[in-house]
Assembly symmetry: C2
């Protein structure tokens, strides 16, 4: 028993070290064995053994030799882009986004799709099929080339049942096992996770979190969430539900939220809350700029409201500024609790919405205590609407490739 125990211990250690080297190569690009040993703090012999194993498995490949300032040229090692590909599917309240990545993290294709009706799971899945097909076609690949699928969902997924725990925007999904649903449909192993946490994963792998070990990503969209990275890892809390900033309360007796409470950030400033106010504005002023843009008001979303604000609709301007202020307070509160090194503002709500983004930044500056504000740099995500889908694909690499 004893020797078996230490045998499994050793194979765990080897897996752990492989993961470590793959993460270093992802962060830093191609490196020599000497550089890998220095950065990983593993000894030369361990590096040699593991590197040889990974070369045999084709997880990594030899690249061109690089000539140092003296001595013989060093053989450079890199992740093997062709080792495998994964697909990320981000299923939101108003969109589906599919991204296909290779093992280097290169984006091979991506398809963003708007959802009109997010009510019936069957309808959403049918739209998903379209996006998946198009994404594969763009990449010149088939589903057989995918090692696995990652699904980003708005809200925590119970790891035992696979059911979404907090997807108030998609109530008809709450008794379904998300991984099972997708796994059956596409015949692939599926991992599912919260879209805000996966957005943080995308920033960590591909975005503005690459050079930072402690940051928060604010996922501003139809719902509002945040992803937290502490010491280079996603922080999920004791049971996977950390980061529920959308349900922090900033206005006692404020408007009612989908969670049943009042004055949550999400009830005041999310995509759905803004759209709801927009509908009220159209009813109150059917000849206004917003009503004109929406041709009656059925299809109003935060996008039309941002367009109306840009066209001079004062009501829409006020709405976005107020929402920006609420979000800024929520971010400031989270910063006071976490003291992050970096804050990344992301999500679909701020795309083409400079008015709101500007107000968010101003409010963060005003409402965060100075000593905490001064520790952080505030930046905007460069991944746009692809973030959660890319994070979902990256999650697959963590699960199925290493």
């Amino acid at each position: 028993l004893r020797s078996e125990y230490s045998k499994s211990d050793q194979s765990f250690l080897r897996l752990y070290n492989k993961k470590k080297l793959l993460n270093i190569l992802r962060e830093r690009g191609a490196l020599s064995r000497v550089e890998l040993a220095e950065i990983s703090q593993l000894d030369r012999k361990t590096i040699t053994n593991i590197v040889n194993e990974m070369l045999d498995d084709r997880q990594i490949v030899r690249q061109e030799m690089r000539q140092g300032s003296f001595g013989r040229p060093r053989e450079m090692l890199a992740r093997n882009a062709d080792y495998g590909r994964s697909m990320g599917i981000d299923v939101g309240g108003t969109h589906i986004t599919v991204a296909v990545l290779d093992f280097m993290g290169n984006l091979l294709s991506h398809v963003p799709l708007d959802l009109e009706d997010h009510g019936e799971p069957e309808g959403v899945l049918a739209r998903c099929d379209d996006a998946v097909k198009t994404a594969l076609a763009h990449a010149g690949l088939g589903m057989e080339h995918m090692e696995g699928i990652g699904v980003a969902f708005p809200g925590h997924i119970d790891p035992m049942t696979g059911r979404p725990a907090l997807a108030e925007s998609m109530p008809k999904w709450q008794n379904l096992s998300v991984p099972e649903l997708f796994s059956r449909r596409y015949g692939k192993p599926v991992q599912a996770g919260d879209c805000s946490m996966l957005m943080a994963m995308a920033e960590l792998w591909f975005g503005k979190g690459r050079d930072c070990k402690d940051f928060m990503v604010f996922d501003l969209g139809f719902g509002i969430g945040c992803g937290i990275v502490i010491n280079g890892s996603i922080f999920a809390g004791c049971n996977g539900k950390a980061g529920e900033i959308g349900h922090t309360i900033v206005q006692v007796n404020g408007p009612t939220c989908k969670c049943g409470r009042r004055g949550c950030v999400e009830a005041l400033a999310s995509g759905w809350a803004i759209a709801k106010r927009g509908q009220e504005m159209i009813r109150a002023n059917p000849s206004g700029i917003l009503a004109g843009l929406c041709q009656g008001g059925s299809g109003v979303s935060s996008r039309e409201i941002a367009m109306a604000a840009a066209a001079g609709d004062e009501g829409c301007r006020g709405l976005l500024i107020q929402a920006g202020e609420t979000i800024g307070i929520g971010v400031a509160n989270a910063m006071s609790l976490f003291n992050p090194m970096r804050v990344i503002i992301g999500g679909r709500l701020i795309i083409d919405n400079e008015l709101m983004l500007g107000q968010i930044k101003r409010t963060i500056r005003e409402k965060t205590i100075d000593v905490v504000y001064n520790d952080a740099d505030i930046t905007v995500s460069g991944l746009g609407q692809l973030a959660s889908a890319m994070g979902a694909a990256a999650m697959c690499f963590e699960h199925y490739y290493v």
Copy 2:
């Protein structure tokens, strides 16, 4: 160079392993070598080497043999209570508390002291001398028996300058180096830290955090803060300032806080905010119950307000209920962000204040989203006003003894 490097590496590893074993012995009490090996996952040879070194150094001692169900009796090992003692001094806005601990974590003596005037550092330090003297006398020890002193301060202490960064309640301390001040006065090495983080450390070592790796402690007193434990360690954020729940905003355009912002939890519900409202109530109603208790109103604090509320003063009851609601919302918000396994409510504000404590618990229940609430148990600290002082003494053991 290479061999020196790995030499220092090994001595670091030995120190790390010693710390590990000492923490296991603190958590679990006396253990055999076999049990230590199992729990620590260190191999038998390493355990033997380190244990022998620690026995030689007298950090640990042999205890009575324990007869197992078969085989020869096992020698039990325990932390040596007499290996050293440390003193914790908690300097607050309205109190000084001194605690003396031995290396087992036994409380040898403690002195709580009220502060009338918390303005002039010299006056506070003179009162400190009294408390320190009394605590040593009660323990039958002298300062020469203390290995070090830990100071708990309301607010983050800058590790470079030793200056408090967020002690708005004690503005005259802001240009002083806290560790230097105490170190000079008592001729001992001094570590200083934030009182809420040290309260979390006390719960981790001695209190309701002993059997839990992920919890939050809410430090409700003259100021309001929280201490966060993730995976068994204090979480301090990127720069030591995490946990500033007192400056999270729950009421836009609420009353002005000492930080200059409006509607912070601290401006609505801290000891100082409650005392301020109490003064206003006395001015408005000089013949009320509260005015009678305070004989004019100069000395009003949350304690008199709790007494007046218990005696039937409706204004005071309303004040405490409102403050409890605000704190409950702050706690609920923090829970939504951290998804903790346990919430420990502590601090001087809830001592003999069942009315407020009850409201805090009710509001946490009402205002936390169900899926997060259901993950946590909500409990009240058993360490009372001693928590931060005990945590400060424990911090010394971490720094000077291991």
